[in-house]
């Protein structure tokens, strides 16, 4: 009897201890993907770090980081270097394919003012669809050859679509679908994973070091970084798509870039766009 009650007491104590332990371990909370909480924390991180920068100004990248640069940006916007690309995109967008159809036939609202909805999760395919991908699919569906994801034509088309959406808040949705959550989570993991010979993650530069200089260049904050795409970069002497930015970032850290529009890039764009929800579309952008 004595022994039995001792065992009972001991096991009760043990299970109590386990219960306490379980409730103090954050494993449950950490394992749960919570995009809403992520996006809130992400914005708070940047607004705390840069209390003087207005939330909607983060989309101006390095130009939001100090007053001198902000003035430079305002001057640049008078004669924007992406103007030629915008013109080209507008013309391309309205020119019919050989079958007589146009890009407008592939997109909601004729493709005007819809940039903020990309990327979206496609339930039928179970994958993330970016704007660049949707544009090439539109071409292929109409018997046209797809464009290179990193070259001028794709930059021009996305520049025009971004321009018609300027000021609209990024509006990425994560449907109630475990595959969508998994894509988001995979994108987040990619974003924070170190890689390449230099051992950098996306976050090393764009979360840990925005506003800092690498040589003469100012690192852009990750918050709103996709809202400005595509961008004219003086360093490139030309336009660059999101695909071009991702692949060249990977090369610069001496990693092996993935193919443009690889699942992982699509997922990271999904993550990055979601946490920038609410910030206005500002593309096409100009960068030093």
């Amino acid at each position: 009897m004595k022994l039995r009650s001792a065992i009972y007491l001991a096991s009760a104590a043990l299970s109590l201890a386990l219960l306490t332990l379980a409730s103090t371990l954050p494993s449950d909370a950490a394992d749960k993907v919570d995009p809403v909480a992520d996006a809130k924390a992400f914005k708070k991180f940047f607004t705390d770090k840069f209390p003087k920068v207005k939330l909607e100004d983060f989309v101006n990248g390095p130009y939001s980081m100090n007053e001198d640069l902000y003035r430079q940006w305002q001057e640049k916007e008078q004669f924007p270097p992406y103007e030629f690309s915008l013109e080209m995109g507008k013309e391309m967008f309205s020119k019919p394919f050989k079958n007589g159809k146009t890009y407008a036939d592939c997109f909601e609202n004729g493709g005007i003012g819809v940039r903020q909805n990309y990327p979206y999760f496609d339930a039928k395919e179970g994958k993330v669809i970016t704007l660049e991908l949707a544009l090439n699919r539109c071409r292929e569906a109409n018997g046209e050859a797809p464009y290179s994801y990193v070259r001028d034509e794709m930059a021009a088309l996305t520049a025009y679509m971004a321009f018609t959406s300027r000021g609209k808040p990024m509006d990425i949705k994560i449907p109630d679908d475990p595959r969508a959550l998994a894509a988001y989570e995979a994108g987040k993991e990619y974003f924070y994973t170190r890689r390449g010979q230099l051992n950098f993650s996306c976050a090393t530069c764009h979360v840990q070091s925005p506003g800092e200089r690498i040589r003469a260049e100012i690192l852009a904050p990750a918050l709103g970084i996709v809202n400005a795409m595509p961008i004219y970069r003086s360093e490139w002497s030309g336009m660059g798509t999101t695909s071009r930015r991702f692949t060249t970032c990977n090369s610069q850290i001496r990693g092996v870039p993935l193919s443009p529009q690889d699942d992982e890039y699509r997922n990271v764009e999904y993550y990055l766009s979601y946490v920038s929800n609410g910030l206005p579309i500002s593309g096409p952008g100009a960068r030093p």
Partner: protein, 122 residues
Amino acid sequence: MTDHFSTKSRLAAFALAMVIGAFVSAGAAQAQSAVDEGRKLAFDRGKGNCLTCHVIKGGDLPGTIGPELVDIKSKYPKREDLVAILHDETLRNPLTVMPPFGRNRILTEKEINAVVDFLQTL
């Protein structure tokens, strides 16, 4: 005899002095060339590229991510501490931005030593 001896010993002393002098200047030249090599590596975009993140005396348009590289000898009196930081700073600070130059073979051991020689002159 005394004279002869002293001439001999003077000659020997002279020869010895020459030899030592040659060694010393060769050593100094070697150290200087390691410092020069280290400086070159520190400024070279493809190699050490320290200037991308650190202010370094004599370097144009330095970055701002890391601390200014100054008074290194007083901050890190032990050479091996500097070697360790260059080899893999993530061991000391997992969140560091600094690339693991040794671990990821961005620089060879010899190159790391040359950069350390240079850093110690700052």
